[in-house]
Amino acid sequence: MGVFNMPSLGADMEAAKLVEWLVAPGDKVNRGDIIAAVETQKGVIEIECFEEGTVQELTAELGTELPVGAPLAVILAQGETPPTPPEVSEIAPIAPAASKPSPAPAPVPFVAEKASISNVVRASPAARVLARERGIDLAGLSGSFPGGGIVLADLEAAPSQEIPRKTVPATSPMDEMRKAIAAAMTRSKQTIPHFYLSESIDVQPAMDWLSDRNEGRPPTERILLGALFVRAAVRAAQKVPTMNGHFIDSAFRPAKQVNAGVAVALRGGGLIAPALMDAGSMNLEQTMAAMRDLVSRARAGRLRGSEMTEGTITISSLGDIGAEAMTGVIFPPQVALVGLGAPHVRPWVVRDNVVPRGVVTLTMSADHRVSDGRQVARFITEFETLIAAPETL
């Protein structure tokens, strides 16, 4: 494998700060193992290894802001010889403090506790913003969020330290997130020829089935309408492969599995769409459990790199209150986005009678380089058929 570089963690990421190593030289790593954690505009993200091998050297320094592609470590496959010293100077680190040449592997300052996350500061995005504004060192605080994450309330208790700032940041981290979203969405609108198809769908059967199913169950076992929508979209994506995959290097690459990106709105602003990996292999209960886990990690600021980059289709739902329709922007390199409005009670014709029904408007945004209206219509029909028979999801 050789040099392990800073991966891109999404179309809107240019750089990230290395905040934690989870391996040490000499460690054997397998595909999917977490190598390090980096801090991005969207919280701390764990980055994974894509091949197996042995960690030879950690070349990047903790605390350094590194651009995508910057070398992080040398990881050798079995029998592989160490490469010539990595040319670190090719990609200069962004932070001036780190502009000195990467030193020979410094003695690792801590015994890496594998798979432990105790060395990194876990904090919600809003807590990070406030800490930066007030010059509070998060490392000195203990968090009250389950798992030890630092939240706003923990900062309220902390004395505001007057840490002299070297430079007054021109923009706040929240502005940075806004800018990152703007850059990704501008790129999407400039490069993807979007087109849209909409359908209003009677979801009363799904709502009725769900309230019957949830009745009498403890809250931990209840399922949300949103999980039914994700499940129906995943099954529809399996049937219509031109909606599921990536457009890279002028070609569409359909994905073998469905990694369902789920848009999560962050309080205080911003949006993140981590993926439920291989959602096609999950049943409804597993989909709900995975969504719960994903939303809670998005809030606490601890997602994995693969979840940030390997989504193959995005489902964006406005939840149970709000506007009736949404026309979304595709998250590149994906080629489709399922936008679902909030359910509204509408007069609906059922067997020649007008009756009040819960209706949801689905709006599909698709990439005209990859598909046409016919395929999108097929996706919508599949979705509609599935959601009409919720017991089969």
Partner: protein, 81 residues
Amino acid sequence: MKPDAIRTAFLEELVKVAPDIDPDTVGDSDHIQDDLELDSMDVLNLVTALHVRLGVDIPEPDYPQIATVSLAVPYLESKLG
């Protein structure tokens, strides 16, 4: 359980579910979804947390009863009583 203790428990669980909310700024009539921006997953997590902490089962049709602090306190009190 006294209303004050129920109020404290409700606010503490609310802030655990939505760590970006400052409990001091939550008004008695703030709606947890419209004003405090909880989504349906957050509401379910709040219901789960209240179930664990107070032993109160809040069925789905009763979710509107905990939509604000001033609604939730008497509702939970009646369930506890």
